[in-house]
């Protein structure tokens, strides 16, 4: 059980690095599907069997929203806006990976003083979740394509969700579902905005979106 948890967590970390390293938008979106799978899987692995039905439902819902609906939405937006690749990123891909390693290190560092009785199954869960969150932020910071930034947000949200997943056994599931709904709507609204932007500007290069300043 613990082994399985660790495997999925490792998978989450590896997908993060893939996200940092890749330039193709399609690949980025695809990677989020893997993340969704990893998330819903270790959510289950952490609970004692037999799994509560509500937990199973939540895992399936997570998989559906994060692994199916949102990627579909994003792919659609990608087609509509015609943005296949990342434009010249602000931080290069290899540099991003290096930063990623530093962030991973920091994530471990941060959790040294934070001890918990929850999820003792894996010492890696919390750092990995935080690392995913930071990866999401890193993607938003370093990429110029507005759609990639939406994906970045999604990744960040995945990281946060991983914390929630660790708690899912005890936390009221209702809120978890609310969270999921909110993420869905957020990405949806952002997708619409990106679509409108591409109509207004003919592309979704965020360099164009830097007119308002002091």
């Amino acid at each position: 059980m613990s082994i399985w948890t660790n495997i999925f967590i490792l998978g989450l970390v590896l997908t993060d690095f893939r996200l940092l390293a890749t330039s193709r938008l399609a690949t980025v979106i695809q990677t989020t599907v893997f993340q969704a799978f990893a998330l819903s899987a270790f959510m289950l692995t952490m609970a004692d069997r037999p799994w509560p039905p509500l937990l199973i439902f939540l895992a399936l819902l997570t998989l559906m929203v994060k692994g199916l609906v949102l990627p579909w939405l994003l792919r659609r937006a990608m087609r509509e806006t015609g943005a296949q690749r990342e434009i010249e990123p602000i931080v290069g891909y290899s540099a991003s990976v290096l930063v990623g390693i530093v962030l991973l290190g920091l994530s471990f560092l941060i959790f040294i003083p934070l001890k918990t009785s929850v999820s003792q199954e894996s010492a890696f869960l919390l750092p990995a979740a935080l690392f995913t969150t930071l990866t999401g932020l890193m993607i938003i910071i370093s990429r110029k394509n507005a759609l990639t930034q939406v994906v970045g947000y999604l990744v960040m949200e995945n990281g946060v969700y991983a914390f929630g997943a660790a708690l899912a056994v005890e936390e009221p599931l209702l809120v978890e579902m609310g969270v999921l709904l909110d993420v869905f709507v957020a990405v949806f609204v952002m997708g619409i905005t990106v679509y409108q932007i591409s109509r207004e500007f003919d592309n979704i290069d965020t360099d164009r979106l830097s007119e308002l300043k002091d």
């Binding site: 941060i110 934070l114 930071l134 938003i140 910071i141 370093s142 990429r143 002091d214």
Partner: protein, 660 residues
């Protein structure tokens, strides 16, 4: 009874300001209503204050008021009463003057608003000296600042007026911030900011004093916080300038005195500080005044000078209290306070005069004026009296108050001592007063000589005419008061003795006051004799001339055959030698274009004097802050990525540093 009168006065004023707003924007009715309510309010207030000064008792009114820390707590004690009288007197006369003065703006400007703010200014000044609660005081204080700000902005279409208004508003607010800090510190842990509940936190007396100095000094115009003053006072309509310069800045003095009383026993360095500030303000004020070309600006700088004199008097007071020398304390305080009244009288008289000149000639530039005495005889006469009074010349009122300060200073000097002893304080006061007196005389010789005497230097002054009767009435009254106080010094002392008794609280006050009275009687005698001798000589002269041939002719031209009016000495050239002596302080700029070639076409010379404190102290600070801000503006450079980076960095730092 007393408080009823005061409340009635406030009510009348507020009613007046409300009525004026609705009395029609341009009509005569606004002027009439505004003036009538002002004068009524003034009479009521003076009645109340006069009773208090007469009896020396205190009257108060404490009404709960549902505002945090606030209460409607007002009181009249001799200190307040003295200021109420000063304020009311000047405001009433200014209102009368204003009825005619504002006529030229009829139809062009919203006079209703102007009168509304005038009445508000008057009411808030009264409330400032009445209030005994921090919140009420701050509200009144701000009301005073704001209503005068709107009056300063009266002719807001002029760029320099807007600039002046801005600077004024800033100065007022910086002062207000200090006062907030001050009152709240004094309030301590109390739930109420009533003055009588104030306590000085242990060890905070120095901070409190500095805060009071900064907060009230900004209003009073202590150097270097005076920078707003020479801009703002000339910008307002002249009767408002008179009120601002004559009494509004004195509320700063009032506040300082009041707070020093509340803080508790003064330390010796407070006195020194006030003395030095006073000396610097006095000297710098008069020097800058001397360098001005604009008559109202010049008068505004003279307010800085006179505030300096008052401040020196207060400095001697604190020095006297701290070294337990009641004679020095009493004389300093009485001199300072009496100068508050005297300055209010002659400064408003002079501003009225300057307003009349501007009214009649359309310009305030002295180098364009001249020969107004023949065209405006009565204005000129009153102005001359005001000018002599502000120079402290006997037998006028300015001398009386300055003399009291001198007397205190010499008293402490004659006691001798060592370096660093209060005797040095006395010397500083005395030497500065002497220097200020000489400079002021030079300055007003220039103003009166250039503006009113000689021949007109331009069409403006050639066309000038005497001003309407209400304006003359105000000026004549003030001039008469200047002479009366000058000749009846002992009676003037009676006005401030109750205040001194309240503040110093010592039997010695009566003794010193009686001593001063005795001396002032001799001065009155000398003044009387002076007038009699002058009368005798005038008679002698008339008799001698009556039997001789008396003819007139052109001014002796020293052999030059074609003099014209533009060849007269100008204000700038008159003042230049004096300015030259002090150019290391004042830093005037001379703009010269010499003649060139065999057939020179054009040459010119002009002088210009910026306020060095503004140019070298405040402008660089503002520039520095502004540049720093511009640099910070780059943080908001437009890209989302950067913004998210800020968030990420904040998270990381907080998590790494703060979680332990």
């Amino acid at each position: 009874m007393i408080m009823d009168l005061m409340l009635a006065s406030l009510a009348v004023l507020l009613f007046g300001s409300a009525v004026c707003v609705f009395a029609g924007g341009s009509g005569k009715s606004a002027s009439l209503m505004g003036a009538i309510t002002s004068v009524t309010g003034a009479i009521l207030a003076m009645g109340a204050a006069g009773t208090i000064l007469w009896t020396g008792k205190e009257s108060s009114l404490h009404v709960p008021w549902q505002v945090p820390f606030g209460s409607f707590y007002i009181a009249v004690d001799p200190l307040s009463a003295f200021f109420i009288i000063t304020i009311s007197l000047v405001c009433a006369l200014a209102a009368i003057y204003g009825t005619a003065y504002m006529d030229i703006y009829r139809g062009k400007k919203n006079l209703g608003a102007a009168w509304c703010f005038f009445n508000l200014l008057f009411a808030s000044m009264l409330l400032v000296v009445l209030s005994r609660n921090g919140i009420l005081f701050l509200i009144a204080w701000e009301g005073m600042s704001l209503s005068s700000f709107f009056l300063v902005m009266f002719e807001h279409e002029k760029a320099e007026v807007r600039e002046a208004g801005w600077v004024y508003l800033i100065a007022a607010h910086v002062g207000q911030a200090c006062l907030m800090f001050l009152f709240i510190l004094l309030g301590g842990q109390n739930a109420s900011l009533d003055f009588d509940k104030f306590t000085t936190p242990v060890g905070a007396a120095a901070a409190l004093f500095i805060l009071a100095l900064a907060g009230f000094g900004a209003k009073a115009g202590f150097v270097p916080m005076h920078v707003w003053l020479p801009d703002a006072h000339p910008a307002a309509p002249s009767h408002v300038s008179a009120v601002m310069s004559g009494v509004m800045i004195k509320t700063g003095i009032y506040g300082l005195v009041r707070i020093v009383l509340l803080i508790g026993a003064p330390a010796q360095w407070w006195g020194w500080t006030l003395l030095i500030i006073g000396a610097v303000s006095g000297i710098m004020g008069v020097l800058f005044a001397l360098a001005q070309h604009d008559i109202k600006r010049l008068l505004a700088y003279h307010s800085v000078e006179n505030i300096g004199i008052i401040c020196m008097g207060l400095g001697l007071w604190l020095l006297g209290v701290s070294i337990n020398n009641p004679v020095l304390a009493t004389l300093g305080l009485m001199g300072g306070l009496l100068h508050v009244l005297n300055h209010a009288l002659f400064k408003s008289l002079l501003f009225f005069g300057a307003g009349s000149v501007a009214h009649a000639s359309g310009t305030r530039n002295m180098d364009l004026l001249g020969g107004l005495l023949k065209r405006m005889p009565q204005t000129s006469l009153t102005f001359a009296i005001g000018a002599a009074a502000i120079c402290g010349l006997p037998p006028l009122n300015g001398f009386i108050s300055e003399f009291l300060i001198y007397l205190g200073a010499f008293g402490i000097v004659a006691k001798a001592g060592t370096l660093g002893s209060p005797a040095v304080g006395g010397l500083i006061a005395m030497a500065s007063l002497g220097l200020i007196g000489g400079l002021a005389a030079a300055c007003f010789a220039k103003v009166f000589g250039i503006v009113f005497l000689g021949e007109p230097r331009s069409e403006n002054s050639a066309r000038a005419h005497e001003v309407p009767r209400p304006m003359l009435f105000a000026m004549t009254t003030l001039a008469a008061l200047c002479i009366i106080i000058g000749l009846a010094g002992p009676l003037a002392i009676k006005l401030v003795t109750p205040v001194a008794r309240q503040l110093i609280g010592d039997a010695n006050v009566s003794e010193t006051s009686a001593m001063a009275c005795g001396i002032l009687w001799k001065i009155s005698l000398a003044g009387g004799v002076l007038i009699i001798i002058a009368g005798v000589f005038w008679g002698l002269r008339s008799i001698l001339l009556a039997r001789r041939v008396n003819s007139t002719g052109p001014t002796w031209d020293c052999g030059y055959l074609a003099p014209n009016n533009r060849m007269q000495y100008t204000a700038s050239s008159f003042a230049w030698p004096v300015i030259g002596m002090f150019q290391w302080l004042v830093r005037p700029k001379l703009n010269v274009r010499f003649t060139k070639g065999l057939f020179p076409q054009h040459a010119e010379i002009s002088s210009h004097t910026d306020d060095i404190f503004r140019r070298n102290l405040f402008a660089p600070i503002f520039k520095l802050i502004s540049e720093l801000a511009q640099r910070i503006h780059r943080l908001q450079e437009g890209r989302n990525q950067l913004y998210v980076l800020y968030i990420a960095i904040t998270i990381l730092i907080l998590l790494l540093v703060k979680v332990r």
